[in-house]
C-alpha cells in the first residue's frame, strides 16, 4: 500500500484519529482485548446527581486510603510478641522491656519519616470509613434502595460493615499498647463466654491461655491479608452489582422505573468523583497531621498486670462496649458450667440480633408488605412512615449504646455519679427506641400533608419597577445550575454510539435499563 499522505504535523495528527495517541492506543487494545464494549458500559454508567449518592463514596475512598497507608505501615511494623528492650527517641520508655510489636510501632511513629502521619491517617481513615458505611447504609435503608432486586447488595454491604468493624478491632490491637491489650483481654473474655465451647475456641485462637505469644502475629495476618482480601473482593462485588443493576433514583420529572437519569461516568462523574477523592484524602491528611489519635507512647506497653481507667474502644466497637457496660450482672452457675450472661448476652447475642435483623430486613419487609415488585425508584422516607420509624428506633437504640460506652467520661465531665449515669443509660436504652417510633411515625404522617414538601425550593426574586413598585417573582428551579454548561461528549469512533435520549432536565442523560 502506497503512502500518499504528506508527512506534515497535521497529517500525522489526522492519521491518529480524533482522539490522538490515547485513542490510537485504545484502538490497538480493542483489536486485541475487545475493551470497547466494556469501556462503553463503564463510561456510560449513569450516576444520579443527588448528593446522598456521594455518601458511599466517602466509605469507598476511605478504604482506598486505608489500603495505601496500611501498606506503608506494614513496611515498618514487626508482628512479634518477643520482648526487646526499648532504646529509642521517646525517653519515658527508655530501657523498658516491651514487645517488638510495640517497639516497632513507637519507632514507626518517631523514627520513620512521615511514619506518625501515616499511622494517624490510617487510624482516622478507619474511623471515617466505618462512620461513612453507617451513614451510607442509613441512606440506603431510609430510601428503600435495598428492595428487590438489590437485596444481595444490601447483604454484601452489611458483611462489609461487619468485616470493617472486625478489621478495625484487629488493627487497633496490633500496637500491643496498654489500651489495645485491654481490648484483646475483653475479646478473650467474650470468646470464653460462648456457652460450652468458649474455652476451647479461646485456647484455639490464642494458642493457649491469654495473653500468650501468638495473638499479635495471628491478628496481623488476619488484619493485613485475610480480612482485607475478602473486603476487596466484596467491594468489587458491591460495585459490580451496582453497575449491573444500575443505580436507583429519586422519583422526579422524566424518571421512571425503566430508566436512570444522571451524569455519565465520563466525563462528568469521573471529574466529580476524582475531586471528591482528593477532598477525602485531603481531610484525612489534615486530621492525620493536626489531630493526635491513639498516642500509644503515652499508654506504654501492655502488661497483663496493668490497667488504665477510662478505656473505651474505637467508635465502631462503642455500641458493643456500651452494651457490656450497662448489662446487669447476671450469670448462670450450675451442672459444673458457668454461663456469664452479663457477657454472652450483650457481647454475642445482642450484636447477633442487631445484625441478623439488618440482614433479614429486606425479606421481612417483603413478607409484611407482600410487595414482590422490582423497585428502581426510591421512597422518600416520609412516605414510608413505618420503615422510617423502625429505622430511627434502631438508630436511637444503637446511639444510646454508643453513648453508654463512655459512662465514666460523661459522669466525670458533668460531675454526676457514675451509677446514676449507668442507670440512666439502662432506662434510656429501653425508653428511647419506644418513644422514637411513634414520634417519627407521627412526624412522617404530618409531613406527608405539608403542601410543597419534597419540592425543590426556588428563590423569590424581588424587583423594583421604575414606579417604585416591588414585584416578587419565583425563579425557575434550575437557575444558575452548573449542569447547564455541560455539553454532550463526543463518543470515540470505535464505539458504536447509540443516540441517547436527552432528559428533560438539561445536562443529564437518560439510559434505559
Amino acid at each position: 500500500m502506497s503512502i500518499d499522505v504528506p508527512n506534515t504535523k497535521r497529517a500525522r495528527a489526522q492519521a491518529k484519529g480524533p482522539f490522538g495517541s490515547v485513542g490510537k492506543v485504545l484502538d490497538e487494545l480493542d483489536d486485541r482485548l475487545g475493551v470497547a464494549k466494556g469501556g462503553r458500559t463503564f463510561m456510560d454508567k449513569i450516576f444520579p446527581d443527588h448528593w446522598s449518592f456521594m455518601l458511599g463514596e466517602i466509605a469507598l475512598y476511605s478504604f482506598v486510603i486505608l489500603l495505601v497507608t496500611g501498606v506503608f505501615l506494614t513496611l515498618y511494623y514487626i508482628p512479634s510478641q518477643d520482648l526487646v528492650t526499648y532504646h529509642g527517641t521517646y525517653l519515658p520508655l527508655d530501657g523498658m522491656r516491651v514487645t517488638e510489636a510495640y517497639a516497632s510501632t513507637v519507632n514507626m511513629s518517631f523514627a520513620v519519616r512521615a511514619g506518625l502521619l501515616m499511622r494517624q491517617m490510617h487510624h482516622w481513615s478507619c474511623d471515617i470509613f466505618v462512620g461513612a458505611i453507617v451513614v451510607h447504609m442509613a441512606r440506603v435503608f431510609f430510601t428503600g434502595a435495598f428492595r428487590k432486586p438489590r437485596e444481595l447488595n444490601w447483604s454484601i454491604g452489611l458483611t462489609l460493615l461487619t468485616l470493617a468493624i472486625i478489621n478495625g478491632f484487629l488493627g487497633y490491637s496490633l500496637p500491643d499498647d496498654l489500651i489495645s491489650g485491654t481490648g484483646i483481654r475483653i475479646a478473650y473474655s467474650i470468646v470464653l463466654a460462648i456457652p460450652l465451647v468458649g474455652t476451647y475456641i479461646g485456647f484455639w485462637l490464642f494458642g493457649g491461655n491469654f495473653p500468650g505469644t501468638m495473638i499479635i502475629p495471628r491478628f496481623f495476618i488476619l488484619h493485613v491479608l485475610i480480612v482485607p482480601g475478602i473486603m476487596i473482593a466484596l467491594v468489587g462485588a458491591h460495585l459490580f452489582l451496582l453497575v449491573r443493576q444500575k443505580h436507583t433514583q429519586f422519583p422526579g420529572k422524566g424518571r421512571t422505573e425503566k430508566n436512570v437519569v444522571g451524569s455519565p461516568m465520563f466525563p462528568v462523574f469521573m471529574a466529580k468523583t476524582t475531586g471528591f477523592l482528593f477532598v477525602i484524602a485531603g481531610i484525612t491528611a489534615l486530621l492525620g497531621a493536626f489531630a493526635q489519635i491513639n498516642p500509644i507512647w503515652q499508654f506504654g506497653p501492655y502488661e497483663a498486670s496493668r490497667i488504665s481507667y477510662a478505656v473505651q474502644p474505637d467508635l465502631y466497637m462503642a455500641f458493643l462496649d456500651g452494651a457490656l457496660r450497662i448489662w446487669p450482672s447476671w450469670s448462670f452457675h450450675s451442672f459444673g458450667h458457668t454461663i456469664p450472661f452479663e457477657v454472652t448476652v450483650p457481647a454475642l447475642i445482642l450484636p447477633g440480633l442487631i445484625f441478623g435483623l439488618c440482614y433479614m430486613w429486606p425479606t421481612l419487609e417483603r413478607l409484611f408488605t407482600k410487595d414482590n415488585e422490582l423497585h428502581n425508584l426510591l421512597d422518600r422516607p416520609i412516605n414510608r412512615p413505618k420503615r422510617t420509624a423502625a429505622g430511627v428506633s434502631m438508630g436511637v437504640f444503637i446511639t444510646v449504646l454508643f453513648f453508654a460506652s463512655s459512662t465514666d467520661v460523661i459522669a466525670n465531665f458533668f460531675h454526676v455519679s457514675l451509677e446514676e449515669v449507668l442507670i440512666a443509660m439502662r432506662v434510656l436504652v429501653i425508653i428511647s427506641p419506644i418513644i422514637a417510633y411513634p414520634i417519627t411515625y407521627r412526624i412522617c404522617k404530618e409531613l406527608q400533608h405539608t403542601p410543597g414538601s419534597g419540592k425543590r425550593k426556588t428563590a423569590n426574586v424581588v424587583t423594583r419597577s421604575e414606579d417604585g413598585e416591588y414585584i416578587a417573582t419565583s425563579s425557575p428551579v434550575y437557575v444558575d445550575d452548573a449542569h447547564h454548561g455541560l455539553a454532550a461528549v463526543e463518543v470515540p469512533r470505535f464505539i458504536s454510539a447509540a443516540p441517547d435520549e436527552e432528559s428533560e432536565t438539561s445536562g443529564t442523560r437518560v439510559v434505559e435499563r
Binding site: H50, W51, L93, M96, W330, H415, L418, I434, Y441, R456
Partner: protein
C-alpha cells in the same frame, strides 16, 4: 389520632412499665444488700509514711525536724507558726472538726467529721492547700479540688498547730527531681496510678460518686503528699514505694502528664477514643457529607 398510634402508645407504656423497674434494680450494688458509702472522708492511720530514709534530724527533745534523702526531704512545720495556725483553725475548721481538732464539733454531734489529731502535717497541708478544705459542702461524699481558700503559708500554719497537738508523720515533703528517672516513673505510674487516674492522668469518675481527680495542674509536692497520705478514696502508698520511686513518679507526672509533647497534633483533651470518635464523626464523616452535599444535586 389513628388507632394504630394509640396501640403503639399503650403497648410502649406497658413495655416501659414492665421493663423500667427491672432495669433500675438489677446489677446495682446497692440492691444486693450492700450499704452505700457512708463516711465522708477516710482518715489515715497515725504515723503513716514512716520514714524509710537515711537522714533523720531531731531537736534536743527528740522531735523529728527533718528526715528524708536526696530524693525527698520531709520537714516538720515550724512550731513558731502554732499560734497563727490555732487562730486560723478556729476561724476555718473548728465548726466541723471541733476546737480540739478531734472531729467533735461544739454542738456535740460526733462521728461525722474526721479526727485530725495524729494525721501528720502532710495530710493537713494537702487538704487545705489543694482547696478541698474548708469544704463547700461538708456532707458531700467528696470534697472536690478548687481554688485554695487559705494561702500556702496559712495551710502550713494550720498543719503546724494540728501537729503540735500530737506530733506525727508524714511531714511536709519537698521532692528533688534532679536525678529522677522518668522511664521508671512512667512504668510505676502505669502500675500504681493509671487504674484510677487514667494513663493520661486526666482522672475519671469512680464508683459511689467518687472521682479520681485530674493530675494536670498539681504541684510536685502535692503529688508526694497525696501518695504518702492517701487522701479520700486513694490508697496510702508507704512501704511499697520508696522515696526514690515516688520522686520518679512525680517527675513523670510533672513532665509527661502535665506537659505532654503531643507530636501527633492536638491532644484532644486526652480523652482517648471518645474525643477521637466525635472528631471522626463530626469533622470527618460530617464534613465530608457536607462537601458531598455541596458537590451533588440537592433536589
Amino acid at each position: 389520632m389513628t388507632s394504630f398510634f394509640k396501640r403503639v402508645i399503650v403497648y410502649s407504656t406497658l413495655l416501659l412499665l414492665s421493663l423500667g423497674p427491672v432495669a433500675l434494680f438489677t446489677g446495682n450494688a446497692n440492691a444486693s444488700g450492700q450499704k452505700p458509702y457512708q463516711t465522708p472522708y477516710q482518715t489515715t492511720r497515725k504515723n503513716a509514711g514512716t520514714p524509710n530514709s537515711s537522714i533523720v534530724k531531731k531537736d534536743k527533745n527528740g522531735m523529728v525536724i527533718t528526715y528524708g534523702n536526696s530524693a525527698i526531704l520531709y520537714k516538720a512545720p515550724p512550731s513558731a507558726l502554732d499560734a497563727i495556725g490555732e487562730a486560723l483553725f478556729m476561724q476555718n475548721c473548728a465548726s466541723c472538726h471541733g476546737t480540739k481538732a478531734n472531729g467533735v464539733p461544739a454542738n456535740g454531734v460526733s462521728g461525722a467529721y474526721p479526727n485530725l489529731v495524729g494525721l501528720g502535717p502532710a495530710t493537713i497541708d494537702f487538704w487545705i492547700d489543694s482547696g478541698r478544705m474548708p469544704a463547700t459542702n461538708p456532707r458531700a461524699v467528696e470534697a472536690p479540688r478548687r481554688f485554695a481558700r487559705l494561702t500556702p503559708s496559712q495551710a502550713l500554719a494550720v498543719s503546724a498547730w494540728v501537729n503540735s497537738l500530737d506530733p506525727s508523720l508524714p511531714d511536709i515533703p519537698t521532692p528533688n527531681l534532679t536525678n529522677a528517672n522518668v522511664a521508671d516513673g512512667a512504668a510505676l505510674f502505669a502500675l500504681n496510678c493509671a487504674a484510677c487516674h487514667t494513663i493520661e492522668g486526666d482522672g475519671d469518675a469512680l464508683a459511689n460518686s467518687t472521682f479520681a481527680p485530674s493530675l494536670r495542674d498539681i504541684p510536685a509536692y502535692q503529688v508526694v503528699e497525696a501518695i504518702r497520705t492517701g487522701p479520700g478514696n486513694m490508697p496510702r502508698f508507704t512501704g511499697n514505694l520508696s522515696d526514690y520511686q515516688v520522686r520518679d513518679i512525680v517527675k513523670y507526672v510533672t513532665t509527661e502528664i502535665q506537659h505532654p509533647n503531643n507530636p501527633g497534633g492536638l491532644g484532644l483533651g486526652g480523652l482517648g477514643p471518645v474525643a477521637e470518635g466525635f472528631v471522626a464523626l463530626l469533622l470527618g464523616v460530617g464534613l465530608l457529607a457536607l462537601i458531598g452535599f455541596w458537590v451533588g444535586e440537592r433536589e
